[in-house]
């Protein structure tokens, strides 16, 4: 696929459709590609990479890129396209300045999961069909099923549909896929409050407030986050005792509620492996259950469940009485 993408990018550069290309640039290893902008065929040949580890969602970069002159080519995976569509809904990107080639994605791998298999001293990783072949310095060869080491966001992919594009690399679009992305949430809901509290304390107390979740999030596009703004009265840059558990992550999830496309980047980038997507998915699940199914970024939407209402909405007390929320 990488070759086809490079070929198509070159064509579009050559015929003047675009003057630069948003993609991923080869790193030191197979898994550390960096999102980058390419300006020429040579640069593309030298560094453009697309493999099982190029998971980064590039849609957020397009906010900045579409403020510049000229038109940029962006390869969007299905989940990236949801994010991009949502950014369009929020007037954050200029659709006219991006030429979008939709690319399919069967899942991206999580390097940490490979490491967790106890493999060290990795010298190379090869992709072979459904497997990764990992070679180590000790001349060991590990064959790992790709699916086993997929990112959480890929294991629970919600849709293979590319919701906004100018053309599709494969010529055909995917569709929503059945998934069990709410299972984890439901499992937590079924616990007792004490168990849930213990679970979340254990998770959230690890937070080091590196803000990677926020900064990578395509829904977090504030000019300045309330938690960074001294004028907001809520500024708190330090990882202070209980602030993350009691304020930061709750408010962040609330601020993206109705806008989160469930792209899973927050959990992917968390250096402390906090399952932050479980907060966002809780809101999504609640909104689906209480206000009808809604998928942010799916289509042109001006209002989402938090900025709309019905006169016969459930009363807040419903959450204490409805089933499935533990005792």
């Amino acid at each position: 696929m990488q070759d086809r993408m490079i070929a198509r990018a070159k064509e579009l550069l050559a015929d003047g459709t675009v003057d630069r290309v948003m993609g991923w640039k080869k790193g030191e290893f197979l898994y550390d590609a960096t999102p980058a902008v390419f300006y020429s065929a040579e640069e593309l040949d030298a560094g453009f990479v697309m493999n099982a580890f190029t998971a980064a969602n590039v849609s957020k970069y397009l906010i900045k890129e579409t403020k510049k002159e000229g038109k940029i080519l962006a390869f969007l995976k299905p989940c990236d396209s949801f994010s991009f569509r949502q950014l369009m809904n929020e007037h954050r990107v200029d659709r006219d300045k991006v030429y979008i080639v939709g690319i399919p994605s069967w899942g991206k791998a999580d390097m940490e999961k490979i490491r967790q298999k106890g493999i060290t001293g990795i010298t190379s990783i090869e992709e072979r069909e459904g497997d990764f072949v990992v070679n180590t310095i000790l001349r060991e060869t590990h064959v790992i099923k790709k699916y086993d080491v997929y990112l959480e966001k890929c294991k629970n992919c919600k849709s293979k549909e590319i919701v906004v594009y100018d053309e599709l690399l494969d010529g055909e679009n995917g569709a929503a896929v059945t998934n069990s992305r709410f299972d984890e949430v439901a499992k937590l809901e079924a616990m007792t409050p004490d168990e849930r509290f213990a679970f979340w304390q254990n998770e959230l107390s690890r937070c080091i407030r590196c803000n990677a979740c926020r900064n990578v999030c395509p829904a977090c596009t504030c000019e300045k986050c309330v938690f960074d703004n001294p004028k907001s009265g809520l500024e708190n840059k330090a990882a202070a005792t209980s602030f993350e558990e009691n304020m930061f992550h709750i408010i962040r999830a609330f601020h993206v509620a109705g806008r989160c496309t469930d792209c899973g980047e927050c959990s992917r980038v968390c250096p402390q492996h906090i399952p932050l997507h479980l907060l966002n998915r809780k809101f999504i699940k609640d909104m689906n259950e209480l206000y009808g199914d809604f998928q942010a970024g799916e289509a042109e939407q001006q209002r989402h469940p938090v900025t709309s209402y019905r006169t016969d909405d459930a009363e807040p007390g419903v959450i204490y009485t409805r089933g499935g929320t533990g005792k």
Binding site: S242, N246, M247, I250, D286, Y309, P316, G317, T325
Partner: protein
């Protein structure tokens, strides 16, 4: 579990919308309807002015319960404010529950300007709930602890 603090009294923050619930509270006062002094009212123009941040802030600073009062759905002075508040609070409370915060520390109640009685009853029952739940430990900011 810690030993119950003998001197502990619940601290309850009530956000009341200016047009209905604050007037309802006034009416409770005018009619001399008693409710515990643990309830402290903050006046806001509309229940939709209540930011989840205010609620978490109150808990962070040591409140044991937070109640949001607004006009009955359909009666909002600003036509739609309490509908938005209803969704926001529903989602927030659900999230707090999900995080393992005790149910009942938060509540939304619709109190009209004529419902002084309801206001007092609501506050009495809410204080009772909070008293039975005890001190808010789970949402408190440890930095606010006094040694």
């Amino acid at each position: 579990m810690q030993v119950k603090n003998e001197n502990w009294k619940p601290l309850i923050v009530a956000f009341c919308c200016n047009w209905c619930s604050y007037a309802g509270a006034d009416l409770a006062g005018t009619n001399r309807l008693n409710y515990p002094a643990d309830v402290k009212i903050i006046r806001v123009p509309c229940s939709c002015r209540v930011n989840p941040m205010f609620i978490l802030r109150a808990f962070q600073r040591g409140a044991d319960g937070v109640i949001v009062c607004g006009c009955h759905p359909g009666d909002c002075h600003y036509t739609s404010g309490n509908y938005y508040a209803r969704r926001r609070m529903t989602l927030l409370f659900s999230m707090l529950d999900y995080l393992g915060i005790e149910k009942g520390r938060t509540r939304v109640e619709w109190v009209s300007a004529a419902e002084g009685q309801k206001f007092a009853e609501t506050m009495n029952s809410f204080v009772e709930t909070i008293t039975s739940l005890g001190e808010n430990k789970r949402l408190e900011d440890l930095r606010c602890k006094t040694e």
